[in-house]
Amino acid sequence: MNTSVNIAGVTLNNPVMTASGTFGSGMEYSQFVDLSRLGAVVTKGVAIVPWEGNPVPRIAETASGMLNAIGLQNPGLDTFIERDIPFLQKYDTKIIVNVCGHTTKEYVTAVERLNEQPVDLLEINISCPNVKKGGITFGKDPKAVEKITSTLKEVSKIPLIMKLSPNCADISEMAKAAESGGADAISLINTLTGMKIDINKRTFALANKTGGLSGPAIKPVALRMVYEAAHSVNIPVIGMGGISSAEDAIEFILAGATAVSIGTANFMNPNVTIEVIEGIEKYLKENNINDISDIRGIVE
């Protein structure tokens, strides 16, 4: 049985990776999970310099979901390169670095610095709803997506995954824009912008007012967008949004995803990534499927 998948020439042992921002750089979860069993670890978004992020509260729970407004707090590339990459290199997994920036220049500088690093893929976050500058501003219209993609492709020696926002009218347009900008793959969905109000305190539950909605609640939207994206482009699609079981992951693969990322579900169950990997294997075995690629996108 073959569960390995190929993204831009990089072969992952299996299609299960972590979703950026929910798994740190793997260190914390390595107490629960053998990172070598994961298809890839996608790190928390990193920028050229440390970012402070938003004030607290940054987290709120919602029905089968959660809101976060971390605001892309991160230790900056120096620390990341010195501490996190060497840590991940100890494991037999692929390293995907999620990159954020306020300006095109910041993205470019980050990509240039990572060019020299032993990382397998870069995931460019142009879809974070929680920062005022950067992030989503690059991700909300197709022309901007194409532009930033082609700019980064010019400088990057590492294949690029463009991470798309669901806060748009037509995800296939966005997917096509990334593809024509030269993206090697796309990943989606980032969080949906949401809000919660504390009616007793009469204030927002998050200091940032709005936050990004993730978790099982958003899975139907994520799955629909992954399906639409996979039917619009010829590059691999990495699906995510609310995956918390092998069944969920298989839905995304049947809809056309080459790989899947697991985010919020790590908070619900620190073992979830391993359970999903094992559950996919079981499904393939029970259904006599020899190669995971035989079921990719077969529900049309």
Binding site: I59, E61, S64, P75, G215
Partner: protein, 257 residues
């Protein structure tokens, strides 16, 4: 980092200490063995609409029985779910989480306010030096009797029906309590006042505060649970510390509240 475990614990027993304040002993597989005062557990809800674990401090540890006691206020749907667990039921938990109280051989003033009282019990039990224990309540008392065997207990109530009328600092002043180190857990206004008191020129003693914040992962991965710190934090490289990992117990002078 201490070892952390994701386990299915079994409810040994549960009782109500006061209306809406429950005490629950759970049997763990490995957590109790490595846990210490000031650490907390993540408790998972069975109801699938509640996806985030609930952080609850360790109130007591019984290493011989591999048991941990949790005392919690029933305040929302998650704690309401926990309050309905019976002997023999199971609950998923992760722990022990956080750093715990650093134990120093000194005369300690151990301060708990409201639902910040439970974590101080294991500390009072295991702290080796002399100790004065100051417990602040709004009105009705709970757990106070259990502290008595471990030190001098001083009570403050807002209503004044027991002990000093006022807050824990009023009790400290009224009883002229002094010591070399403070450990405290309780509501934010109380912790701010204690920080100010401990750092004041005339008192100026080491002060450890146990903080709270909304959490998602509880293990340092999501960066949800920050407190502002005086200096740049080694992990985050900014003036933010992860309460779940570098805390929940912080030296008062290191945090900006």
């Amino acid at each position: 980092m201490t070892e952390k475990y994701y386990e299915t614990a079994i409810i040994i027993r549960q009782e109500e200490l006061l209306p809406g304040i429950n005490s629950m002993w759970i049997k763990t597989d490995k957590i109790a063995e490595v846990a210490k005062a000031g650490q907390f557990l993540n408790l998972y809800c069975k109801d699938k609409s509640r996806i985030l674990p609930r952080p609850i401090s360790i109130c007591e540890i019984d290493k011989s029985d591999m048991a941990i006691r949790l005392v919690y206020r029933v305040i929302g749907e998650g704690t309401d779910e926990f309050s309905k667990l019976h002997t023999g039921d199971t609950i998923k938990v992760t722990g022990p989480l956080g750093n715990g109280f650093p134990i120093k051989q000194k005369h300690a003033i151990i301060i708990g306010g409201g639902i910040g009282i439970p974590p101080m019990l294991e500390l009072a039990k295991t702290f080796p030096g002399e100790k004065d224990i100051v417990l602040g309540y709004s009105n009705e008392l709970f757990l106070d009797g259990e502290f008595e065997k471990y030190g001098n207990v001083h009570i403050a109530t807002v209503s004044g029906i027991y002990g000093t009328k006022g807050n824990v600092l009023d009790s400290i002043k009224e009883n002229a309590i002094s010591g070399d180190i403070i450990y405290a857990c309780g509501p934010m206004p109380m912790l701010k006042a204690i920080k100010e008191y401990a750092e004041s020129e005339e008192i100026n003693i080491q002060c450890w505060l146990s903080l709270e914040e909304r959490m998602a992962c509880g293990i340092g991965a999501c960066l949800g649970c920050m407190t502002k710190s005086k200096n740049k934090d080694a992990h985050t490289q900014v003036n933010n510390k992860r309460i779940c990992t570098e805390g929940p117990v912080f030296l008062s002078k290191e945090v900006v509240m």
